[in-house]
């Protein structure tokens, strides 16, 4: 589905801190790294905040985590700080989750390779706020560029009150799950653990640990400088601020874009150069995400309320436009197969359930599945939810369920040995005469 590796791009080029870009301010068009000096020129120096101040600001800002779960960041900071205060060793670390194992996402890599100081600022500020002893940046083994730039950036900025180090974790979808990251930092294999205890209770070195997505921490670096009111100048009251979205598929200029929450999906696609051909559906939220018919998606905004009404969430900020001439069913079967193969193999329901779901999906796409098998598939999708140690099965279930819904007609056609994708000129799911006006 991601035919080309998304290119780096940005919206607008307004300097200063009104409007956009915010996170992507100062981004070199060549993708070259912004030095510590230039970073400070763009955003100003790291502010000195009194204890508790940052946490309050972040809480008032309404910022939510950008690693996929939408968790309120202020509440997490407060909880970790409190846990640290009441446990003997205090908070061991702030861990930057930069695994970015979602194949269709490249926002965190963009931050690491081009704007590393924003992430490092945010991680340090968070470490000061929760009283953490160190900052650990966890990036993927395959992201050699990120590792190199981050190490250079850490050297470039000189000493900080709290030491920063970069570690690499293995590739693989599940390796980015927070308990897997912590387990690996503790010397174990990169596999999720049974929770609770969660990282904020007992994480790195068995002590309370703050783990946040790289973009989440970059947002904190801006909130600390410009305030929560400034943060809320963009976005909606329920979804304040801006967000990094990796847009790919049938758009002219795939890449990472910083957009304001509340942006119409039409404008989001326009930001990525517009559609290159007719599109039948959007995959919103990445491989753990939800297929939405293009005709419906085109009428809503990039906002949790709008997306929820269609059963979708933005997840880690991925939007993929599926062209009308592609077979959504075949594409979905491929994604399910990939995700089933990414199970860490620890939990029976995940191992067997996802393998079973994938096999039936393949049969559905191949046109060989009976009606009974389709019903079994639906039952397995429902049954696998909530039954893994981590949310991997839940993400797969969400994706698979939405695929069954959106591509229902394709299922019927495949059974008859036809594929809608091959019927030239018949746009699947495209608005029939009632285009949004």
């Amino acid at each position: 589905m991601t035919e080309s590796r998304p290119r780096v791009a940005r919206t607008g080029s307004r300097p200063g801190h009104a409007g956009l870009p915010r996170l992507l301010a100062g981004l070199h068009s060549s993708g070259q790294v912004l030095s510590a000096l230039d970073h400070e020129r763009v955003h100003g120096p790291l502010p000195a905040l009194r204890g508790g101040e940052l946490i309050e600001m972040v809480q008032r800002s309404g910022l939510r985590g950008r690693g996929g779960a939408d968790f309120p960041v202020g509440r997490k900071l407060r909880t970790v700080a409190a846990m640290g205060g009441s446990s003997r060793g205090g908070v061991s670390a702030v861990v930057v989750n930069g695994s970015e194992t979602e194949p269709a996402s490249s926002k965190d890599r963009l931050l690491f390779t081009a704007l590393p100081h924003l992430v490092l600022d945010g991680a340090l500020l968070a470490a000061y706020a929760v009283g953490a002893r160190e900052v650990i940046v966890n990036v993927n083994e395959s992201a050699e560029g990120s590792l190199r730039v981050l190490e250079g950036a850490i050297a470039d900025r000189g000493d900080s009150r709290v030491p920063i180090r970069v570690v690499t974790g293995p590739d693989g979808y599940v390796a980015g799950e927070e308990s897997a990251v912590i387990h690996r930092l503790n010397g174990g294999r990169p596999l999720p653990t049974f929770v609770p205890p969660r990282p904020f209770q007992r994480g790195y070195r068995g002590r309370p640990t703050l783990i946040n997505n790289a973009e989440t921490l970059a947002q904190i670096a801006l909130i600390a400088r410009f305030g929560d009111q400034w943060f809320r100048e963009l976005g909606t009251s329920a979804d304040p601020g801006s967000v990094l979205v990796t847009i790919s598929g049938a758009v002219a200029t795939p890449g990472v874009y910083e957009l304001e929450f509340g942006t119409p999906i039409q404008d989001l696609l326009a930001a990525a150069g517009g559609l290159t051909e007719r599109v039948q559906a959007l995959l919103i939220g990445g491989y753990f995400g939800t297929w939405v018919e293009y005709s419906r998606a085109a009428q809503v905004r990039l906002a949790r309320t709008d997306l929820r009404a269609m059963g979708a969430t933005l997840g880690s900020g991925v939007v993929i436009a599926l062209r009308a001439s592609a077979c959504g069913l075949t594409e979905s079967a491929r994604v399910v197969r990939y995700l089933a193969g990414e199970s860490s193999g620890q939990c029976g329901p995940c191992v067997h359930g996802l393998a079973g779901i994938s096999a039936l999906f393949d049969a559905l796409a191949g046109g060989t599945a009976s009606e009974r098998e389709r019903l079994t598939l639906e039952r397995w999708i429902a049954e696998v939810r909530g039954r893994g140690a981590c949310h991997h099965p839940d993400g797969v279930a969400r994706f698979a369920q939405s695929a069954l819904q959106i591509f229902e007609e394709d299922v019927q056609e495949h059974r008859l040995g036809r594929c809608m994708a091959r019927r030239v000129g018949v746009p699947v799911g495209a608005p029939s005469g009632s285009s949004a006006s």
Partner: protein, 71 residues
């Protein structure tokens, strides 16, 4: 206070004893792994629930007493 059932899916090997003892609350999926249909254990089943916890060969069945943390 409520008592809730939970399975540690990493430890669980699908022996199925829990579903035998607590068919009112637990059934097995097509591969023999437990599905908790009703996590909240009613008072009259508490004794059986504790027995199920003790009987599980891999100690995968957990009883949480309160609503601390179950994401």
């Amino acid at each position: 206070m409520s008592t809730r059932l939970r399975v540690n899916p990493i430890a669980c090997e699908g022996h199925g004893l829990c579903a035998e003892l607590l068919p009112e609350l637990i059934r097995l999926d097509d591969w023999g792994y437990p599905i908790i249909e009703e996590a909240e254990v009613p008072d009259e089943l508490l004794d059986l629930a504790y027995r199920a916890v003790d009987t599980c060969p891999t100690l995968a069945l957990v009883l949480d007493e309160d609503n601390l943390d179950r994401g």
